[in-house]
């Protein structure tokens, strides 16, 4: 698995555990399930900025970038380009 996908899947599973959700599929809606909520987004952003050479701006925080693991991976990969 690509390192980006692996790391993102890892942090999302960690956030899901807080919500007592055992598994998350690449297309599960993270926002609707509350896995990425207003508290988790802060932790997630810190993690992504720490792990990858990217800076996330306010404008980036839109559902299209955070809806599921797939869109999150696409977002991070596009930022790294």
């Amino acid at each position: 698995m690509d390192a980006v996908v692996e790391d993102i899947t890892g942090i999302i599973h960690e956030l899901a555990r807080v919500r007592r959700i055992a598994t998350v599929q690449p297309r599960d809606n993270l926002l609707a399930q509350g896995i990425v909520d207003s508290l988790a987004i802060v932790k997630l952003m810190l993690f992504l900025e720490d792990r990858f050479p990217i800076r996330i701006s306010d404008e980036d925080i839109v559902p299209e970038n955070f809806r599921d693991i797939e869109s999150l991976c696409r977002f991070v990969q596009s930022k790294m380009r």
Partner: protein, 381 residues
């Protein structure tokens, strides 16, 4: 590092203290008992320039910096006994006027911000719901697009100013599947079909600040009244929370200052066992702790306001300020009652009202537990 206030700030402080003593302290004990809001006081404050202080001149404000705002709100809290009124004003400034100033269109600013600065219109911030308080974005009020309008459905609770408000800043979800990123803010005018304001809610303290529920039933709002972009509600809320957590309790620091003066005077005058009670170390130390709490609160407030002005305030600093100042106000009020003995427990003495007013500080703008969560998260816990 220069901690001194400017000459302008010092003279503004004296002017505000004179104004508050002269114009805002009528019948506070009776109005508190009757849960009575003072529209007269609200308008007087607007005339004095309070509501417009930090907002741009083109919308009727005076463009003051945020440290000056902190100094002025503290001065009001020191000299004005009606803390319900000050809370109501501060709530409008930090949670309605501020997002309007930062995210509003020119038309929205002219229509809503300007008359709020002048005191003609009153605004209410409608986020909390019966099912979502600390988990503010777990809200269930919906907004559905319908042509040039949105249709809002849901209910809001604990809404400060609602019984007297002309404009309601309502948070609703426009995209359920987008969680907190699907929340959008709307400006709903009083009298809109489908908007209903509930009966005033009775409270422990801050009784002169009116509060009620707000119901939205098929309430039609023009799309032009959306504040910010679709899905921007969380950003708008986060920005206003920085102001709110920093500044909302500035008046409470003024109350601490007044309590210390009252305690020192009382401890010097009141004699027991043949000597002033201030001569007993237990009493003196309690007042010393009040003074230390006051000074540290003031430093946190000014520092956070300064950082906010520079655009450098972190969530942790805002949360620390809100947490520490609110807890200090409460402890200071308890201490003031203790120093005054049985007299402090009576309504006439007015210290008991400060205590009742201070309890809310641990709840609104995020409870103390939520502030601690934010600080813990910022520490990497």
């Amino acid at each position: 590092m220069d901690f001194s206030l400017t000459e302008d700030q010092i003279s503004m402080r004296s002017e505000v203290i004179r104004f508050a003593r002269r114009e805002l302290n009528d019948d506070v004990v009776a109005r508190d008992a009757a849960n009575e809001f003072s529209l007269k006081g609200w308008r007087r404050c607007a005339k004095m320039g309070i509501q417009g202080l930090p907002f741009p001149r083109e919308y009727g404000g005076s463009g003051a910096d945020l440290v000056t705002l902190a100094v002025v709100m503290q001065a009001l809290g020191y000299a004005c006994a009606d803390h319900g009124l000050l809370f109501a004003i501060a709530a409008q400034m930090v949670s309605v006027q501020m997002p309007l100033a930062q995210f509003g269109t020119e038309e929205q600013k002219a229509r809503y911000l300007q008359p709020m600065c002048s005191g003609e219109r009153i605004g209410a911030f409608c986020l909390s719901e019966p099912g979502s308080g600390s988990d503010a974005f777990g809200l269930s009020t919906t907004a559905t697009r319908n042509g040039d309008c949105y249709v809002l459905n849901g209910s809001k609770t604990f809404i400060t100013n609602a019984p007297v408000a002309d404009v309601f800043l309502v948070f609703a979800t426009t995209d359920k599947g987008a969680g907190f990123m699907g929340i959008t803010a709307f400006l709903v005018e009083k009298g809109s079909a489908g908007l209903m304001v509930g009966k005033p809610i009775g409270k422990l303290g801050l009784r002169t600040s009116p509060m009620s529920e707000v119901f939205l039933h098929e309430c039609v709002v023009p799309a032009a009244n959306r504040l910010g972009r679709v899905g921007m509600g969380q950003r708008l809320f986060t920005a206003s929370m920085q102001w709110e957590r920093t500044l909302i309790l500035a008046f409470g620091i003024g109350a601490m200052e007044r309590q210390i003066e009252a305690c020192v005077a009382y401890a010097r005058e009141r004699k027991q066992f043949g000597q002033p009670i201030g001569g007993f170390q237990a009493v003196a130390n309690r007042i010393v702790d009040m003074q230390v709490r006051f000074e540290t609160s003031r430093l946190l407030l000014y520092h956070a306001a300064w950082l906010l002005q520079q655009g450098r305030l972190s969530d942790m600093e805002a949360a620390m300020t809100k947490l520490y100042v609110s807890e200090s106000c409460l402890q200071s009020s308890l201490d003031a009652i203790q120093v005054h003995g049985g007299y402090g427990y009576t309504t006439e003495c007015q210290v008991e009202r400060s205590l009742r007013d201070a309890v809310g500080g641990r709840l609104y703008s995020g409870t103390s537990e939520i502030q601690r969560n934010t600080i813990a998260r910022s520490l990497g816990l």
